[in-house]
Symmetry: C2
């Protein structure tokens, strides 16, 4: 069956059943109203928009699946030519009509059946091992025989490298240069990540590695353009900012207008193939001093006159494509934004962030839970090598003194664990508990930011992001984010990272090289 | 010595000698006034701008070279971090200060010393051969042992593929995301091509293959933006159009203004990292009928009102970067321009070109020269298998009849060869010779375009370019380009290729698949 016939069949079958319910729209037209966050190892907060089709409602799933699979085959195996738009469009449309389950099946077929051509690899590997390395002796440089051997050697290396490329990369490459294809690939990867979170098979994981590598290459900073987003931009772009803002949700149009108005800036990174939608954007507030709470940035009014500003505060960075998780788009963004702001307003001399600490509470609760268990056992057996003193003696004492029915415990850690685990985070509004908790949580937060690591890098994903960009940890702020999310994530604490232009390069180097976390004396003194 | 010290030393040494003569400018500021064409296998005409430094004047060449080489080493081997701008800037500056000879030496060092890590490859290859292909039997899908084996297998394949990447690709990748780096790489490749044309060593050739592959990836159509270039664009952009127009040189500002004015369009492909300069641009004339001569496009006035146009004629495509030779940037350009024009002016229904035939005369002269030798020998020995009848009997007769002192010959081919080889192309202005040559050259030109191939594709580079984009050969036009260049290249003949929207995809497919050259009956009848 020709691919055209298949496409027609597919449309006919899908439409004949329930044309009103079934959508063939190429991309999900609506932006998801509930932004969903993704903290798993990724440095910035992300949204999810997957646009799963609903063909499974129809009982023709199997046939639709077969047709999409056939289209995928055509898209990969058609001879190389610039003009295969129809096939690629059909494949995209068909893919969107599949349920997530069928998408998973399709991606597994892609991973397994369009994998590396291993026969060819083995053949080339044998040829390669049979050849002597011509570069090893440089004595007779211009012997024609040696030149010929060298050529053969290089050619086999080149061929082997290309043979090791999985066949499915052809599909990625063809989609990349197809209109809308790059965005499609990002949605496909979002699906893949969602499938991998449930079933982590080696072939799908490998498919993801190659796709991630390609996307990282195609979305390199060289291809991204930095634009200031203003109130004059099209509503279709602005509504995306509202939908994708993941750090401090935008409540209404007035709120958005304020974030784009006087004393505020918003910059986005755009890719030529994904017009009208930033891949990542950053919100900046122009201030007199580095803000300590997010409330002053978001709610206090009016903003100061811009010519009085000495500080540019980055208070939100959101990426819009969950399919680009793990690809560091923000890396060059901050540096470019600093350059841009500096050029525009030379009187701005401080570049700082007011950042969430997304992993603090999670780390603390798990630490308290494991250590209070050790502490319990201590009476019975000699202390374990894994046990450590989480609390100072005076903290222990203070916590025991506020222990009551709802937060009783045999030691300070248990009391703290119980307090922090109360539903509705009651501790955060209790005048009795709060003053006791403040010094404890602030000290532990400093420890979390400055000392807790994973593979030699800061454990906190946002900390890792700014440190690798060359920032230093400047200050932590008590009750800086009183939103439910803020209390829940980090006990309401926020952190200021500071970018000092003269140190950015050295700090990034030393963090990259030795994992050194640069921090101000003020935060060091809290340890 | 640290890289900073090296950079300072380099500047000091270079400046101390002759600060007025020595330029450290990052890019050659001036556009070369003599555009230089490059027909060698490339489909479009190209310019050359190399910006070779003049450090060899100073007698400190050796030391400067050493410093640049050291900087190159730092740029490759520095730990991976976003902030190595200083090193890359130093390397670019240093490179520009070298003579072409030293650049060649540097590129050879890059190719040889930052090559594939062969020890690592051999180690991985051995590991790879020791493993069983886990994909071969799919019986027990979910055995954990098998999963683990599969993971190892995939990982070794991944590692082997990456180990086969030459170390110098790191330099390319770092430059690509460095401001100005992509343009620098294109200049570096132009140098490399120029060096290769003199000394084609396997390692430099391999360096070029990898660089070309990378550039092709980074300049994929997905990263290019199509803009209409108008008289309202900055002069700095417009002067580049004047400098880079390689097909029909722009004589003055008035000429340029006309090419951007009513009834004309100019579109360019821009890359975000190379702002203010198109990588390739195309000039379009809006006409009532498909023009037969370039004179009517360039000189006739005034242009027709745009609403009377039914034909968009592509009369010039120029690429601006000699370092991007062999990378088909124009592939998607024509399709996108057609879409854009069609959207803007639905009454335009014909999309055609008026194109040069850059290889015709060269092919014909070489054919005549070899065949007239065969013909000479024919009396003595039996006819060779390589001999063929180039001329029809009536052409033979007609040519012999106009033979005179300056074009005598023992057969028609020799007469034709002598006529075409006359200096100043006298034949083209001779009322006696011209009518005799017209049918001969037109027939042979049709044969050249429709039947002469190289590796299964049209021998003529411009023909190959349009055919692979899905065009057909529509018509050839006598005395369509009377410029010296036109007479010299193609006997003044030009060709119209036509893009029929409904056939583009099929034609491109059949040309790609079987090398079929689609042509109109009118041109077939000339054969």
């Amino acid at each position: 069956m020709s691919k055209k016939n298949l496409a027609i069949l597919m449309r006919a079958r899908m439409r004949s059943n329930n044309p009103t319910k079934f959508s063939l729209s190429q991309f999900p037209k609506e932006i998801p109203s509930n932004s969903q966050e993704n903290h798993s190892g990724d440095h910035i907060l992300q949204n999810s928009s997957e646009g799963i089709g609903n063909s499974s409602d129809f009982g023709i799933t199997g046939r639709v699946y077969d047709v999409v699979r056939e289209t995928m085959h055509s898209a990969i195996s058609a001879s190389k030519t610039g003009v295969m738009d129809i096939t690629l469009n059909d494949f995209q449309e068909g893919y969107f009509s599949l349920s997530l389950e069928d998408r998973g099946k399709l991606l597994l077929a892609l991973a397994k059946e369009y994998d590396v051509n291993r026969e060819q690899v083995r053949e080339l590997v044998k040829q390669y091992l049979g050849l002597e390395n011509p570069a090893s002796d440089d004595g007779e440089l211009h012997s024609p025989k040696k030149e010929a051997l060298t050529s053969v050697f290089y050619r086999i290396e080149w061929n082997l490298k290309h043979a090791l490329k999985p066949t499915y990369e052809t599909l990625f490459e063809r989609l990349n240069i197809h209109p809308g294809g790059l965005r499609f690939l990002s949605i496909l990867r979002a699906d893949l990540l969602s499938i991998l979170s449930k079933e982590n098979t080696p072939s799908l994981r490998t498919l993801d590695s190659y796709l991630k590598e390609k996307l990282g290459m195609w979305l390199s900073p060289a291809t991204l353009e930095l634009h200031q987003i203003t109130w004059d931009d099209p509503a279709s772009l602005l509504e995306k900012i509202v939908a994708y803002e993941a750090v401090h949700p935008i409540s209404n149009l007035l709120d958005l207008k304020r974030r784009l108005g006087i004393g505020r800036r918003c910059f986005g990174y755009f890719h030529p193939s994904i017009p009208g939608e930033p891949l990542i954007f950053i919100e900046v507030a122009l201030m007199e001093t580095v803000a300590q709470t997010i409330q002053e940035v978001l709610w206090d009014n009016p903003p100061i006159p811009e010519n009085q500003a000495t500080c540019a505060l980055f208070y939100s960075i959101s990426s819009t494509q969950p399919g680009l998780a793990g690809i560091n788009l923000g890396k060059f963004l901050i540096k470019r934004v600093i350059t841009l702001v500096k050029k525009d307003m030379p009187h701005v001399s401080t570049f700082a962030t007011l950042s969430p600490i997304p992993g603090f509470m999670q780390w603390l609760l798990s630490k308290l839970s494991s250590q209070s268990r050790f502490a319990e056992d201590e009476g019975k057996s000699p202390s374990s090598t894994f046990s450590e003193k989480v609390l100072l003696p005076e903290e222990e004492q203070a916590l025991m003194s506020i222990s009551d029915d709802s937060s009783s415990g045999s030691n300070g850690m248990e009391v703290l664990l119980n307090l922090l685990s109360q539903k509705n985070c009651e501790w955060a509004t209790s005048p009795r508990v709060l003053p006791v908790l403040e010094p404890v949580l602030m000290r532990l937060c400093a420890r979390y930011l400055l000392q807790e690591k994973k593979r030699g890098k800061a454990l906190d994903s946002v900390a890792n992001f700014h440190l690798q960009n060359g920032a230093m940890v400047e200050r932590i702020n008590w009750m800086a984010d009183r939103s439910e999310k803020g209390i829940h994530q980090s006990g309401g604490i926020m952190v200021n990272y500071v970018y000092r232009l003269e140190n950015i390069e050295d700090y990034a180097q030393s963090y990259f090289g030795s994992g050194k976390i640069n921090a101000s004396p003020c935060i060091h003194s809290r340890l």
